[in-house]
Symmetry: C2
Subunit: 503 residues, 2 copies
Amino acid sequence: MSVSIQQYEKLKNKLQQIADIKYAAALLQWDQETYLPPKGNDARGRQIATLSEISHQQFTDEKTGNLLQELINCHDLSNTQKRNIQLSNDDYIKSKKLPSAFVRKSSEVINKSFHSWISARKENNFDLFKNPLQEVIEIKKQEAEYLGYSEHPYDALMNEYDKGLTVKFTDELFSSLKPELSSILAEIKNCPQVENNFLHGHFDKSLQWNFGMNLLKSMHFDFEAGRQDISEHPFTTNFSSKDVRVTTRIDENDFANMTWSCIHEGGHALYEQGLPDEEYGMPLGEYCSLSIHESQSRLWENCIGRGLPFWTHQYLPLQNLFPEQLKNIPLDQFYNGINKVSSSLIRTEADELTYHFHVMIRYEIEKLLIDGTIMSKDIPAIWNELYDKYLGVKVPDDKNGCLQDVHWSHGSFGYFATYSIGSLYAAQFWSAIKKDILNVEQMLISGNSLPVFQWLQQHIYPFGRYYSSAELCKKATGEILDSKYFIEYAKQKFYDIYKKLHQ
Amino acid sequence: MSVSIQQYEKLKNKLQQIADIKYAAALLQWDQETYLPPKGNDARGRQIATLSEISHQQFTDEKTGNLLQELINCHDLSNTQKRNIQLSNDDYIKSKKLPSAFVRKSSEVINKSFHSWISARKENNFDLFKNPLQEVIEIKKQEAEYLGYSEHPYDALMNEYDKGLTVKFTDELFSSLKPELSSILAEIKNCPQVENNFLHGHFDKSLQWNFGMNLLKSMHFDFEAGRQDISEHPFTTNFSSKDVRVTTRIDENDFANMTWSCIHEGGHALYEQGLPDEEYGMPLGEYCSLSIHESQSRLWENCIGRGLPFWTHQYLPLQNLFPEQLKNIPLDQFYNGINKVSSSLIRTEADELTYHFHVMIRYEIEKLLIDGTIMSKDIPAIWNELYDKYLGVKVPDDKNGCLQDVHWSHGSFGYFATYSIGSLYAAQFWSAIKKDILNVEQMLISGNSLPVFQWLQQHIYPFGRYYSSAELCKKATGEILDSKYFIEYAKQKFYDIYKKLHQ
């Protein structure tokens, strides 16, 4: 074994041990959301904190830095090895930029802010959250300075979720999207509205569970390498690519809730199951970016899972499962109903089109907070103004307004944009899939999503962090992200639904 | 704060962080037995190994030793603080006795032996296990030498499970028990046998589950600080005294399987829930010994859970749950059936009386293996001979003989005796409870086990490792362990059952 290989194995060994600790912490968190008895919460909190501290200590240890420094100058390694070293070195340098006193302070501030958000939301009173949130904002501003940026401090924060993402790029993207979206929405407004009341009958819990499990199976979720459980908020987590877990929630009065969250998390999970197992603990074993991760959930949830071909196959079994609720609803009415477009207050309940405005509102507010133009106290007024301007809805209170999302209380500034960007990537990938696989929709009609899964296995899953989001998109579709694919997709789908009604 | 208190807090902080890591590893193991998808096994193995290594490293660190050395000379601390220091120091000294190369070797040997036991059992062929087992035995002999002992090398191994337990004490205990047990069994043999076929009808899984959950509730298991799940082999584990988990298994053709394993694990779990929460991570927050732990499971499983008073209350609900299976079985017939005494091949299926012979056989064989009188190759012959001699049963093959238990493949030499000793403690505690609580059986008849629970909360649970098994027993019952309590209990119970039939 050459010296380089020996040192590389040493690095791999170290990073894999750190991954062991991180994944253990992730299991503790999964358990906290699924099975933890209530009195176990305090001990669990400290257990997770201890593991996080150890993994952080081990990664930021000088020895890691020295090993990386040695390896960065080794030229007799494979491309994937070099890329792992380079990415690990980037991570290491970044982690050293934040002083440990700052990291500790940051976690205290966020902890306080999270608890005050819980109270504020419960009391429907933003004032209770205002000061702790401003502290978080100050921390994030400081963090941006530590991390560094070339144009906008917010760039540094967005980079945490999608390396290379900038305000400039996102501004342009959203500027191209906004007028197009508005014009589609205006056209839809002129059409009769579709009905979706049938989604809100009574749908038995265990029947819904079974249906969701079958949806995951039909998507090629590998139950030998994962599982589904119930939690209050659906999420996907993993402890290796061979142990990927999704959760769902079931509302007996809302069939949609479970169904599309199940498909959404399933899309995330397929990505995690598809990451290369041999790169366990290494950057190439990790997902590319949150934007790409979200593209995987949205592709399945929306492009496929709210598509007519998919339901042409799935609808009959569903009708058979809930005959009373659905026997009088023909497929096209069902399809229209699950794609109803309507401005609303709550992001997580929004349709595919208005969703982007929810994100853009948050993105704009975050930019203003981070560059210091506004303070946390200004949020409710701006929030309500933008909801009126972009979505034409009046926000009745902060609970249904600026207190609805957990993200800010967690310090997740720079995160929201990846939701929209993920949807745009999804549409672009979907367009490529339709080009690459002849008759893909015909296949979906016959219940066969395997070719889609295989396309993703070929073009998205195996690369981990080898490529950036932009590079991966270019490699998979021939061009970098362009919102035109989403616009085309939206026009075709929603005009078809709404204009038909017009005729 | 005095210097002593400061240093004590430093120790506490360190030990609690180590506990965080150990409990995290325990959750990973719990998950492995309950919910882990099969392909996740490899990564899980390495994650548990990494956490174990880190907690071991942190505990055996020189810094821990120095801190303990400082504290051991501090006199201005409370008795509980001093005891925590003393016990931690004992643990530290013990952990330093095993060289790390030996610990690594040991874990490799055990890993190999475990896998070969699985194959040997599957193939019903002891030869496949013979050599790996002898390697384990050599490791355990070496371990005994490292740990040190004054009389018998096996003492060193028994001490791992019950500090202070010796061959001398156990030999005497078993010598007093053996003839008495044999004479009870001889008397029983002269009586007509009881019937228990009714236990083997068809008992619906979910009804059994509900009944088990109610049993745990009736025992005062705190479901806010614990839960029950399904696993292949029932066990109890905990990640703090506020998160104690039991598992059970359900055999639809054997009602007894779930019922008494549920009560057994429940007894273990009450002990863990009763340990002092403020001593999290400290010796006084840990159970006294495996013998005392087993006394808690056996007390509930046998003294209470196979008693007539308990079932006088529980039987009607049970009959109502399974009317078809039990409507023609009156209470006394049920009670006799669940206490049927009959020599058998499998330890885990044995009744309260013959159980001890299963343990004594293993104890005798282990002593001979550890002092080098016999080798692993000699086990099947001796095993079969002793089963014939003590229990009068012919062992048909190794699967139903010396390959039945996992313990040896895990290197758990010195463990088995604690099962019998635990039962003897249970009988002695039960005798004290009946003396201390007037009408306790009348209370159980009316479904009230609270006074028993409270007695245990007063006399057993709160002390952690403050007392040794012997001291705890003396404190709770006025004398050290004496097998006469078990003999009395056995005579009274089983003569009552069997001699009545004679009349």
